[in-house]
């Protein structure tokens, strides 16, 4: 195999796996639900993008034509990750999950919780 292709694929794999690991480490170690929500949703999408780019390079090299399946998965993950993060934050807010003491703007959370659908 060409040396440069192998090097590029290896670098993308290591960087992507490191991002995935950092996301999960944040999920395990951070003190509060809202900070824990922030770690995997950002780090994991970036890590998955790197892994899928590596896979795209090597499959394109092996098969001889451009492989675009991985781009589909990347696009799907990039679209769905913010949606799930938003829904999880909304669930936690309405369930009154404990917030860290030093969080600023706690009154805003209370106000958002009590807001109802506007009447027509």
């Amino acid at each position: 195999m060409e040396f440069w292709i192998e090097l590029a694929v290896s670098v993308f794999l290591i960087v992507g796996a490191t991002f995935v690991f950092i996301g999960s480490l944040g999920l395990a170690k951070l003190p509060d639900f809202y900070t824990r929500l922030h770690a995997p949703t950002k780090a994991t999408t970036l890590g998955m993008s790197c892994l899928l780019i590596a896979s795209m390079i090597i499959v394109t090299y092996r098969q001889g034509y451009l492989s675009l399946h991985e781009l589909l998965i990347t696009l799907f993950l990039l679209i769905t990750a913010p949606v799930t993060a938003h829904m999880l934050a909304k669930t936690a807010m309405h369930h009154r999950v404990a917030i860290l003491e030093k969080t600023s703007g706690k009154a805003l959370s209370q106000r958002a919780r009590e807001r109802t659908i506007p009447k027509k």
Binding site: M1, E6, L7, V9, S10, L13, I14, G16, A17, T18, V20, F21, G23, S24, L25, L27, A28, F33, R36, L37, P40, T44, T45, G47, M48, L51, L52, A54, S55, I58, V59, R62, Q63, S67, H69, E70, L72, I73, F76, L77, T80, V83, T84, M87, L88, K90, T91, A92, H94, H95, V97
Partner: protein, 89 residues
């Protein structure tokens, strides 16, 4: 070099799956557990793709795409159920 990189990446992804499992069991709240499941399915997609690279088969991308779609739908359904007590109103 490539096989070494695949081994290291697989080890990192497996460790992160174990960390997710720990959060899934420990998680003080229901939303923590849903978040841990969400991260677990994304990490399992990563593991499947690494397996596909190491075997050299393009067959596993369909499985990864299916897991991505079903994982998103299941996370959304769980959030909706916890939030409203109903999935489709």
């Amino acid at each position: 070099m490539l096989s070494g990189a695949i081994t290291i990446a697989s080890a990192l992804v497996c460790i992160s799956l174990i960390l997710n499992l720990w959060r899934l069991f420990k998680g003080p709240d229901l939303s923590d557990r849903i978040l841990a499941l969400d991260t677990m399915y994304i990490n399992s997609i990563a593991l499947i793709i690494l397996f596909g690279i190491s075997i050299g088969s393009a067959l596993y991308f369909e499985a990864a795409l299916l897991i991505a779609m079903l994982g998103f739908v299941s996370t959304t359904a769980m959030c909706k159920y916890v939030l409203r007590g109903d999935i489709i109103e």
